[in-house]
C-alpha cells in the first residue's frame, strides 16, 4: 500500500472522479493553471483541460452560484473555496439555494455539488486564514458536511461526495495537508457519508473528534496508553448527517465522553454531540460529557504565542482526557 499525504489523496480523489464521470468538473480560484494555492489540483488542468478544471474570478458567491446552476443542469461541480474563511460571500448561495433546492422543488431538482474548503488554524494564518466554520453549515438541513482526517478517508469520502445527489461541504484540515500521512489501499475506495469510524478501541473514555483534532487525539491516546489509560477514539468523519449509533455505542461502552473540536467552544459543533449523548445515553454516563474546544475569542490570533494559546494540541487533549478518566 502506498503511503501518501492528505493533499495527495485529495488530488487523487478528484483525479479519479474526473476520469470516472465526464460530468465532473472543478472550479475555483487558481485551481487551473496554477494548480491551486495548496497544489490540490496540481496537474489536473494539464490532464483534463480548461473545460474541466476552471479558474474563476475572485468571487466566491459566483463560484457557488455557477456550481449550483451547473449541478441543476446535470453536471457534478467540485467548487474550491481557497480558504474556508472566504466562504462567507457565498453563504447566501449555499444556505438559501443549494441547501433548499431539493426541498422546495419537492424533490424534482437537486444540487449534486461538492464544495471543498481548507479550514483550521495553527499555520500562522491569522484572522482570515485559520477559521473553522463547520458549525454554520451543520445547522442547515439539506447540506451534508464531511471532514476527513486521513488520506484513505479523504479519497473515499471525496469520491462519495462527488457521487452524492446533494450538496456536500468538504472541509479539509489544511494544517494536515502535508503533515498527515497514511497508507491508502490500491483500488477504488468509497467511504460512505454518514458513518463514523472507531479509529482506536479503548475502554476508559470515548473521545469524539474530526479532522485535525482527530489526528491530535490519536497522538494523545497513544501517549496516554503508556499511563495505562485506554482511550477509545471516534473519528466522526461526517458531521451532518451524524452517525448517532456509533457515538452512542461507544459511550455505552465507556461511560465517559469528551468531544474535541478546534472551533470556538460556544455553539460549536461538539455541543451537538454532547447533547445527543446527554439525551440518549444519560443512564450510561459515569461522568459529565465534556467539550474541549478553542476559546471564545473572535479569531485565531496571528501572533505565534497567542496562536498556540488558542489552538488545541495533543498535550491539551491528553490533559482533558486524564481529568475525565480520573473523575
Amino acid at each position: 500500500m502506498p503511503e501518501m499525504t492528505l493533499i495527495d489523496a485529495i488530488r487523487q480523489g478528484m483525479d479519479e472522479e474526473l476520469a470516472h464521470d465526464p460530468n465532473v468538473f472543478i472550479i475555483g480560484e487558481d485551481v487551473g493553471v496554477r494548480g491551486g494555492v495548496f497544489r490540490a489540483t496540481m496537474g489536473l488542468f494539464d490532464k483534463y483541460g480548461p473545460q474541466r478544471v476552471m479558474d474563476s474570478p475572485l468571487a466566491e458567491a459566483s463560484i457557488i452560484g455557477v456550481g449550483i446552476g451547473a449541478a441543476l443542469y446535470g453536471l457534478r461541480p467540485i467548487c474550491e473555496i481557497q480558504f474556508a474563511d472566504f466562504i462567507h460571500p457565498a453563504f447566501n448561495q449555499i444556505i438559501n439555494e443549494a441547501a433548499k433546492m431539493c426541498y422546495r422543488s419537492n424533490g424534482e431538482w437537486s444540487v449534486p455539488m461538492v464544495i471543498r474548503a481548507p479550514y483550521g488554524g495553527g499555520i500562522g494564518g491569522g484572522l482570515y486564514h485559520s477559521q473553522s466554520l463547520e458549525a454554520f453549515f451543520t445547522h442547515t438541513p439539506g447540506l451534508k458536511v464531511v471532514v476527513p482526517s486521513n488520506p484513505r478517508d479523504a479519497i473515499g469520502l471525496l469520491k462519495s461526495a462527488v457521487r452524492d445527489p446533494n450538496p456536500v461541504l468538504f472541509f479539509e484540515p489544511k494544517k494536515g495537508y502535508r503533515l498527515i500521512k497514511g497508507e491508502v489501499p490500491e483500488g477504488e475506495i468509497l467511504v460512505p457519508i454518514g458513518k463514523a469510524a472507531v479509529s482506536r478501541e479503548g475502554s476508559d473514555v470515548s473521545v469524539f473528534a474530526y479532522g485535525m483534532m482527530h489526528y491530535y487525539t490519536l497522538q494523545a491516546a497513544e501517549k496516554l496508553s503508556g499511563e495505562g489509560i485506554h482511550v477509545e477514539v471516534i473519528d466522526l468523519r461526517t458531521l451532518y448527517p451524524v452517525d448517532r449509533e456509533s457515538i452512542l455505542a461507544s459511550v455505552r461502552k465507556t461511560g465517559k465522553a469528551l468531544v474535541v473540536y478546534e472551533d470556538n467552544l460556544t455553539g460549536g459543533y461538539g455541543a451537538e454531540i454532547a447533547a445527543i449523548i446527554a439525551d440518549q445515553a444519560f443512564t450510561d454516563l459515569d461522568a459529565p460529557v465534556r467539550r474541549l474546544a478553542g476559546p471564545d475569542v473572535p479569531a485565531v490570533p496571528f501572533s505565534h504565542p497567542m496562536q498556540d494559546w488558542f489552538m488545541l494540541n495533543p498535550e491539551k487533549i491528553a490533559t482533558a482526557i486524564r481529568d475525565l478518566v480520573n473523575y
Binding site: G255, F282, T283, D284, L285, A287, Y327
Partner: protein, 441 residues
C-alpha cells in the same frame, strides 16, 4: 421566632440516635442549656441541652424512636407561637423514623437490612445507579476510587464481578438447595415457574448470603452496637490493605517497674496496669515514626499533629467501644494510668461523652485479657494502625546462650499497607519493643 431542636451527630460515624426520654413535656418552660431529652446512640448515652430558652411548643419524635442526625426533634419558642410548616411531620433527612423497640421485636431478614445509612456516597452517576439496580448491589459496600472517593462505573462493575450474587444462586437446581423438611409437597409447589423462583431468590439475596433458618433456629435481632461494629469491620477491611506483623517483648523491666510503683499509684487511687505501659510505649514509637500516626487520603498522607490513642474496651456481650485518650503524648505515666482507668470504667458504665469516642489517631487493643497470645486486629478507620497485645506468659527464652524464664508477650501490629511497608511498620513495632524492654527503672 421558634427554635428547632435537632438530633446532633454524637460521634464519628454515628449517624442516628434513639430518643430515650423527653425530660420536658409540651407546654413546659425550659432554660437555655437545660437538659431537654436523653438520647442513646450505638456509642454513647447522653443528654441534649436545650438550644434556647422558652417553652416547649411541640415534641415531634416519640420516645423510643430512632432518627438520623439532623432530624428536627422539637420546636421551642414563646407561648402561642406558630410552628413553621405546622410541625406535624419531622423534617427528617432520611425516612429512618423507626421505633427502636418495635424494630427489635419484629426484626425480619428484610427489616434487618433496612437503611443503616453509613458513609456519604457522594455523587452516584447514572450508569452506576443503573448497574447497582440491575445487579442488586448495595453501594455502601462498594469502594470508590473516583474523584473524592466517588464510586465509578469500573468500581461497581468490579464489585459485581467479585460478588456474583443473584445469578449464581438462582442457577442452583432445586434439588441442590437445602431441604426444609417438607418432603411431600405437590410438585407444582416444589417446581415453581423458573422466572418466579429466580426473581424471589435474587430478591432474597441482598448483599451477604444469609443462612436459611431451619426449624429450631433462633433469630437474635442485632443491637445497634452489634450492627455498628459489623459495619465498621467490613468497611475497614474494604478500605485498608491490612497486614499484621508480630514481635515479642520481654516484660521483665516493665514488670519490675510495675511491682515497684503499684502501691504508690494505688495511693493516688490509680490501678497501674500493663496497658498503661503499652500506651506509653506506643506514644514513644509514634513520636519516633510519625507516619504511623496518620490517615490515608486521596490527596496525600495526613500526618496528625495530636497523638490520640484509642483503647478498645470490651463491654462483654454488649460489644466493644473505643474511648480515646486525647493528647496522650502530654501525659505522664500517672496521667496515662488515670485516663485509662477512668475511660475504661465509664465505658463499662456507658457513661462516655460523645467527644470521648472520637478523634483517635491510633488504637491499642488488649486481647490478651481473654487468653489470646496474638491476633490480627482490624484497623479502626481512618487510622493507619492498631496494636494488639497478647497474654503475658512466663516463657523459657534464650538469653546469652542460657535459658531464662521471662514474662513474655506477643504484640501484633496491623497496619495499612497503603501507608507503610513491612520494613517501616517493623521499625515502629521494634521501637515499641525497645521501649518496653529497656524501661527505665
Amino acid at each position: 421566632m421558634p427554635t428547632k431542636v435537632i438530633m446532633p451527630q454524637l460521634g464519628e460515624s454515628v449517624v442516628e440516635g434513639t430518643v430515650t426520654k423527653w425530660l420536658k413535656n409540651e407546654g413546659e418552660s425550659i432554660n437555655e442549656f437545660e437538659a431537654l431529652l436523653e438520647v442513646n446512640t450505638d456509642k454513647v448515652d447522653t443528654e441534649i441541652p436545650s438550644p434556647a430558652g422558652g417553652i416547649v411548643l411541640k415534641l415531634l419524635v416519640a420516645e423510643g424512636t430512632t432518627v438520623t442526625a439532623g432530624t428536627i426533634l422539637a420546636w421551642l419558642g414563646q407561648p402561642g407561637e406558630e410552628i413553621p410548616g405546622g410541625g406535624t411531620e419531622p423534617e427528617t433527612h432520611s425516612p429512618a423514623k423507626v421505633p427502636a423497640v418495635t424494630q427489635v421485636k419484629t426484626a425480619s431478614p428484610e427489616s434487618a437490612a433496612s437503611p443503616q445509612s453509613v458513609r456519604d456516597l457522594g455523587f452516584i452517576s447514572p450508569v452506576v445507579a443503573k448497574i447497582a439496580h440491575e445487579h442488586n448491589v448495595d453501594l455502601q459496600q462498594v469502594r470508590g476510587t473516583g474523584q473524592g472517593g466517588r464510586i465509578t462505573k469500573k468500581d461497581v462493575l468490579a464489585f459485581v464481578e467479585a460478588n456474583p450474587t443473584g445469578a449464581a444462586i438462582a442457577d442452583i437446581p432445586i434439588w441442590e438447595t437445602p431441604a426444609d423438611g417438607d418432603l411431600f409437597r405437590p410438585t407444582e409447589m416444589m417446581f415453581k415457574e423458573p422466572t418466579e423462583s429466580t426473581a424471589t431468590r435474587s430478591a432474597a439475596v441482598t448483599s451477604t448470603p444469609s443462612a436459611a433458618p431451619i426449624v429450631g433456629d433462633q433469630l437474635i435481632p442485632h443491637t445497634t452496637i452489634r450492627r455498628s461494629i459489623a459495619e465498621h469491620m467490613i468497611k475497614s477491611k474494604s478500605i485498608s490493605a491490612h497486614v499484621t506483623t508480630v514481635m515479642e517483648v520481654d516484660l521483665s523491666r516493665v514488670a519490675a517497674h510495675r511491682q515497684a510503683n503499684k502501691a504508690a499509684f494505688a495511693r493516688d487511687g490509680v490501678n497501674l496496669t500493663y496497658t498503661v505501659y503499652f500506651m506509653s510505649a506506643i506514644v514513644s514509637a509514634l513520636k519516633a515514626y510519625p507516619q504511623v500516626n496518620s490517615s490515608w487520603s486521596d490527596e496525600g498522607l495526613v500526618l496528625h499533629s495530636a497523638i490520640n490513642i484509642g483503647m478498645a474496651t470490651s463491654l462483654a456481650e454488649a460489644g466493644l467501644i473505643v474511648p480515646v485518650i486525647k493528647g496522650a503524648d502530654g501525659l505522664s505515666l500517672l496521667g496515662l494510668a488515670r485516663a485509662v482507668n477512668d475511660l475504661a470504667q465509664r465505658a463499662r458504665e456507658r457513661k462516655l461523652l460523645p467527644d470521648e469516642v472520637k478523634g483517635g489517631t491510633f488504637t491499642l487493643t488488649n486481647h490478651g485479657t481473654s487468653g489470646s497470645l496474638f491476633a490480627t486486629p482490624i484497623i479502626n478507620q481512618p487510622q493507619c494502625g492498631i496494636l494488639g497485645v497478647g497474654m503475658v506468659q512466663k516463657r523459657a527464652v534464650v538469653i546469652n546462650d542460657a535459658i531464662a524464664i521471662r514474662p513474655m508477650v506477643y504484640i501484633s501490629l496491623t497496619f495499612d499497607h497503603r501507608i507503610l511497608d513491612g520494613a517501616s511498620a517493623d521499625w515502629f513495632l521494634a521501637k515499641v519493643v525497645d521501649t518496653l524492654q529497656n524501661w527505665a527503672l
